[in-house]
């Protein structure tokens, strides 16, 4: 089968990329990886791309093929013949080092590293702790992650804040926080709720949509938030925002915006509160903050409070 690959080529340090065009004769059942290896083996030893397992186990060869993000090793060439040339590109947002080789450290590994990504094993050597398989099956699901980065690629927070840990690293945080064998339970929750951590997720569910292994990275982040609340780890801006939001609606039936702003910053956070003053002043000047500021209960607030109380009761 005659095919043409059009590959992204860029030398290290060069700002401009060029397109490498390669005409190949491949077997009908060839994969994109087969074609790329053929280019490297026979035409150009300098053509750089990663690949390891060759069979869909490891996630190393993830790239964009005709605009679809997938693995070169399992992608059949025959399924990409709808265009005259098959376009091979790095996935979006990754820092390219050379050709299709990009900086996994900056994209993902370094974000996992800051989590102290290990559990502290128990010292005991007397046998194995009994754990229901349900708990282990949940860990196996989270750990079936092969670090392909597609959840980070789909994340809607990362394009505006590359410092966000991202769903891949936070899925790793979940695997660690949910392991009942850790000698220091709760440590990874503290790690995950650091700045740029679980609270910065906007739960758009793109990560879960993109995950090829149905691990549900977004759901894992939500689970981490729930675990953090359960453990009383709530002293973070977004967590305080959640708590204040709920408390306000529970008390008055609707949102008390001044209270939300103040409690989100934190009552002891003097510099944070100071920053609110100009905002409050501008709001007052424009007539958006009634003076004196009084927050009234809305009609039927009592019933809303009862709904919250019922919810609290059920949650116990």
């Amino acid at each position: 089968m005659e095919v043409t690959f059009n590959a992204y080529r860029r030398e290290p340090g060069e700002a401009e990329y060029r397109r490498g065009v390669y005409k190949l004769d491949l077997p009908e059942d060839a994969t994109i990886m087969d074609g790329m290896l053929k280019i490297r083996d026979e035409e150009d030893p300098n053509f750089a791309f990663r690949g390891s397992c060759l069979r869909g186990y490891c996630g190393d060869c993830m790239m964009s093929i005709n605009g679809k993000n997938t693995f070169a090793c399992t992608a059949k060439v025959a399924n990409f013949m709808n265009r005259p040339e098959i376009a091979l590109r790095p996935i979006r947002m990754v820092p390219v080092i050379k050709d299709l080789v990009f900086d996994w450290d900056a994209f993902m590994w370094n974000k996992i590293k800051v989590l102290n990504p290990w559990i502290e094993p128990q010292e005991s050597t007397d046998g194995v702790r009994t754990v229901p398989d349900k708990v282990m099956a949940d860990l196996r699901n989270a750990m079936s992650c092969y670090y392909c980065g597609l959840c980070d690629e789909g994340c809607t927070v990362l394009p505006v804040d590359m410092k966000f840990l991202g769903p891949a690293a936070l899925t790793k945080a979940y695997r660690l926080a949910a392991d009942p064998r850790d000698k220091n339970p709760g440590e990874h929750l503290k790690m995950a709720q650091q700045a740029e951590g679980i609270w910065d997720c906007v739960h758009c569910y793109e990560a879960s949509e993109h995950c090829p292994r149905n691990i549900g990275p977004t759901e894992r982040i939500v689970q981490l938030r729930d675990m953090a609340f359960e453990k009383g780890i709530t002293n973070e801006r977004v967590a305080r925002h959640h708590t204040s939001f709920a408390a306000s609606v529970k008390a008055s039936g609707w949102l008390d915006e001044a209270r939300l702003a103040i409690e989100s910053e934190g009552l002891t956070n003097i510099s944070g509160l100071m920053k609110l003053l100009p905002i409050a002043a501008r709001a007052a000047i424009k007539g958006k903050a009634p003076i004196p500021y009084l927050h009234h209960k809305r009609p039927g607030a009592k019933r809303i409070t009862e709904i919250f109380e019922k919810g609290d009761e059920r949650g116990k």
Binding site: E11, P12, D29, T31, L37, K38, R40, D41, E42, P45, N46, F47, A48, F49, G51, S52, C53, L54, R55, G56, Y57, C58, G59, D60, C73, T74, I97, K98, D99, V101, W104, W109, K113, N116, P117, W118, I119, E120, P121, Q122, T125, G127, V128, T130, V131, P132, D133, M136, A137, L139, R140, M143, S144, Y146, Y147, L176, D179, R181, D182, R213
Partner: protein
């Protein structure tokens, strides 16, 4: 210049375990891996790992099964050490966070696997290696081992008969560096890529075996290359774990007859799945039940579908034998010591006699844990007694010149990839599952011809940064070295035993061949000698 007490080469299970053990023993440790550790071949292990953890089981029973599979070539002392220490090392991996499957009581579940005489393999669905690898890498970071990820070792440094470090090319920086060490551990894995199809990932190119051989170490039992019986022939070859057989899958040979697989070691199973008159053997997973397939073999289901579109819950799929892993390798004792002072080896690149002529399913990962740890501990002890010798600048300069010498305009008409393709074809045909003298002689001649052509190749490198063409050149060199060692050792062993099958010598010959082969570099070519088995 980086300096360590212990330098580990290889980022798979054995290397990670060795590095952690050496660090815990007080050594400063560096680990070099040509791929990111989470992308190494360990992640492809599926079925499980053996240990006598069930209260009714015993190290003696485990040892007996391992010896039985080894077909008379195991070193009993090595097996005794292995079986005796397996439980503690597998429990270590469990405590460190591996999510092994549990039974209804929440205790470790044991799976029937290969020729184990009882259910002895702990497992994590069919992703055991992937889970274990993550946990090992987590613990490597916990131990604060300095990792050099995506670095390729081009040579070992041997000074005054001792290994004092290694020279390595940083894929990202493109620069060559000297790593000085008091002890070096090779844990570079297997050599599956000598064959096609095989079960090997891109990096299984026999690098460590070749490095050790070039440095003067002995390589033992190289003729024994295990063929896995159940490879789905899509792409480079997709392994269907034998654990499926233990859970009810039915194997049907190429003539359509059901195979009774119970207790059969791999080398016999591999014969049963050979094709016949163009027909293939088939594995039918349907007796396991669709629900159990999805919960216990989810990866098998996913990858068969990805590679071929077939659904193992709906139909039987063709399988054939394909090269899987070597039993032979760098000659070591049970502490990982090689014949070179300061050089250790562990895991798939090493051979300490624990697998004999055929390895039992489920022993690979356990071996990596037990002997990786032991090599790490022994290397740390050795390092305490060894004075530091820094790798000399002139040695680094010589290596730089060597690499300069192979880069430039390639007028040879050959490429490493072309030679690799020719090599895999001849290995399959003449140094594969069944061999004979004429075929092996022809293969040895062809391999030497390939080596000759290889020596004339140059790599037209525009940059050394992520130049896989350059590292691929070294890998093909390592494969040619290993191929010659396998072929000459196989030519020497005039019998059929375990994974080594000679059609011209179809019987086992205990009188002459209760012995290992050891190959060494003598005057530029391999010399093979017999070495007696350690007495039971």
């Amino acid at each position: 210049m980086p300096e360590f007490d212990v330098l580990v080469i290889g980022g798979g299970a054995s290397g990670l375990r060795a590095a952690i053990a050496a660090k815990e023993a007080g050594a400063s440790v560096g680990l070099i891996s040509k791929a990111h550790p989470l992308r190494t071949h360990t992640g492809l292990i599926q079925g499980g790992l053996n240990a006598p953890l069930d209260p009714d089981d015993s190290p003696e029973s485990f040892a007996a099964d391992t010896m039985q599979a080894g077909d008379g070539l195991c070193d009993s002392e090595a097996v005794k050490t292995f079986a005796g220490e397996a439980a503690r090392d597998v429990l270590w991996l469990e405590r460190a966070g591996t999510p092994f499957n549990r039974d209804a009581q929440g205790k470790l579940a044991f799976r029937a696997f290969g020729s184990n005489s009882r259910n002895r393999s702990v497992f994590a669905d069919d992703r055991t290696g992937h889970m274990a690898l993550q946990v090992l890498y987590e613990q490597l970071q916990r131990a604060r081992v300095t990792a050099f990820e995506e670095w390729y070792v081009t040579s070992l440094v041997i000074e005054d008969g001792a290994c004092t470090g290694a020279l390595a090319l940083g894929l990202r920086s493109g620069s060559l560096e000297a790593f000085s060490a008091r002890a070096v551990i090779l844990a570079t894995g297997g050599l599956g890529r000598l064959y096609a199809p095989s079960t090997g990932s891109v990096g299984t190119t026999g690098d460590g075996q070749s490095l050790a051989y070039q440095a003067g170490a002995g390589l033992v039992d190289m003729e024994f290359v295990q063929f896995h019986p159940m490879i789905f022939p899509a792409g480079p070859g997709l392994l269907i774990t034998e654990a499926t057989l233990g859970e009810g899958a039915q194997l049907v040979d190429a003539k359509g007859a059901a195979v009774d697989t119970r207790g059969l070691p791999r080398h016999q199973l591999a014969l049963a799945t050979q094709s016949s008159n163009g027909d293939s053997a088939k594995i039918d997973l349907r007796p396991i039940g669709a629900a159990n397939i999805m919960t216990r073999f989810p990866q098998t289901h996913e990858l068969v579908k990805a590679m071929s579109g077939l659904d193992v819950t709906q139909e039987a799929i063709p399988v054939r034998p394909a090269a899987h892993r070597p039993m032979g390798g760098i000659e070591t004792n049970a502490s990982g010591e090689t014949s070179i002072r300061g050089l250790f080896a562990a895991g798939e690149c090493a051979s300490n006699g624990v697998h004999g002529a055929s390895r039992m399913a489920g022993n690979t990962l356990t071996e990596a844990l037990v002997f990786g740890r032991r090599a790490g501990e022994a290397a740390a002890s050795h390092a305490r007694l060894e004075s530091r010798k820094s790798v000399s600048q002139s040695r680094l300069g010589d290596e730089e010149n060597r690499i300069q010498g192979i880069t430039g305009e390639n007028t040879s008409g050959d490429t490493p990839g072309k030679l690799h393709a020719e090599l895999t074809a001849l290995m399959d045909q003449q140094v594969g599952l069944v061999r004979d003298a004429a075929g092996l002689d022809a293969a040895i001649g062809k391999i030497r011809g390939l080596k000759d052509r290889y020596s004339r190749i140059k790599i037209g490198a525009t940059t050394r940064v992520f130049n896989y063409g350059l590292t691929g050149y070294f890998e093909v060199g390592a494969m040619l070295t290993c191929a010659e060692l396998i072929a000459v050792s196989a030519r020497q062993r005039t019998e059929t035993r375990g994974a080594h099958r000679r059609s011209d010598f179809p019987a086992k010959d205990d009188a002459n061949w209760s012995a290992h082969t050891t190959a060494r570099l003598v005057d530029g070519s391999p010399a093979v000698e017999k070495k007696p088995i350690t007495a039971a």
